[in-house]
Symmetry: C2
Subunit: 221 residues, 2 copies
């Protein structure tokens, strides 16, 4: 079928560009993470808390992907880090070419860690490699503990799961133990952090892990 | 470009099937709504609360769309209504053909109102007509008041916005007035309900509106 063939070509082209992004990042010793989640799970808030925690310890740059607006880039820019906004104009996920364009706007020799915030979408970004070292899935407890089972691809493609908004657990129907068990059922290798940007819980653990990972040479080097 | 041409053909084919779905629903005097939201915004909970409120007053059937699992259909089936589960196997939105297949499994002469729960995705389902009378967008206050600006297409395509989880407003950074203003900025025609399935707030207003709309002859008739 022609549609499938063209979809495959799009993915193959994307993957080739992703590999060249990965090589470029490796040459500059940059650890890159691709943050993926539903809209409103707290990706931008996690970036803000991470930047606060790592200020002066790690040189972070941020690429913001959004369907519309530069609201997220405005939030991140307050932390005095390099930030590039990608507006996809309706497209439901980032592709490697967009990240390549964003990288050309960054002084890569002055970056240790690149955080790419994908479009808020728990389905489509799963299939698109951007050249990152790993995908980090964020799942808010307000979304419910069944989501890893209902949207398994994203959790299978991620290496890390950041559970967000744990301060809201008393007020929502979400069993944290079941959420984690469901996530590990679809991907037993997941590293899981439990966080709240409101209380600060778990932010040091996540941020310190990110700093440690950024200090190691990337696998592609 | 060939990709664009094929995408257009896919949409044209979808729209033709959607029109035949619409005609079929009109022949049976069925009012159909297409519930769209992020994962975890509370679509299934809203359906459950609606079924409880309208029990004995309106004959409702439900079509559940999910990437994986029949967890939602299991929840809805407890309310003794006809329910059909569509599993998209990774696809990020429902298409009209899938709904047509689902309709063939329902006794349409015994249905006044059809609720279609789309895949949890605030981007992709916006562009796909299923034959519904209208799209109903659900937005949880936990997702933040900026979402209508960041994902405008969904709010432009919807006729109704159900704000969900308003019981959590004291615990999250979300200005309800700003959320509504942002939604009305992208679509001044939106009818807005403020609800909580936990406290029951707003459920009678929303449910009664749905019952009234279902009692009127559909526009396509």
């Amino acid at each position: 079928m022609s549609v499938i063939t063209i979809e495959r070509k799009v993915l193959e082209k994307n993957d080739a560009i992703a590999q060249s992004n990965r090589a470029l990042l490796a040459r500059h010793d940059i650890f890159a993470v691709n943050l993926v989640s539903s809209p409103g799970a707290g990706k931008t808030s996690l970036i803000e808390s991470t930047l606060q925690h790592l200020a002066g310890r790690l040189r972070v740059a941020v690429v913001e992907g959004d369907v519309q607006t530069d609201l997220d880039a405005q939030r991140v820019a307050r932390y005095q880090v390099p930030v590039v906004q990608i507006v996809t104009n309706g497209a439901c996920h980032l592709e490697a070419q967009l990240v390549r364009d964003a990288l050309s706007n960054l002084a890569l020799d002055q970056v240790d860690c690149l955080i790419v915030e994908n479009v808020g979408n728990l389905v489509c970004p799963a299939g698109f490699d951007l050249g990152e070292a790993m995908k980090v899935a964020i799942l808010s407890v307000t979304e419910g503990d069944d989501k890893p089972l209902k949207y398994p691809a994203m959790f299978q493609h991620a290496a890390v799961l950041v559970v967000s908004k744990v301060d809201l657990l008393p007020y929502v129907q979400c069993d944290l133990a079941r959420l984690k068990a469901n996530a590990l059922q679809v991907n037993p290798e997941l590293r899981i952090f439990e966080t709240s940007c409101t209380t600060g819980a778990g932010i040091p653990e996540w941020s310190n892990w990110l700093a440690s990972a950024s200090a190691r040479p990337p696998r592609g080097a």
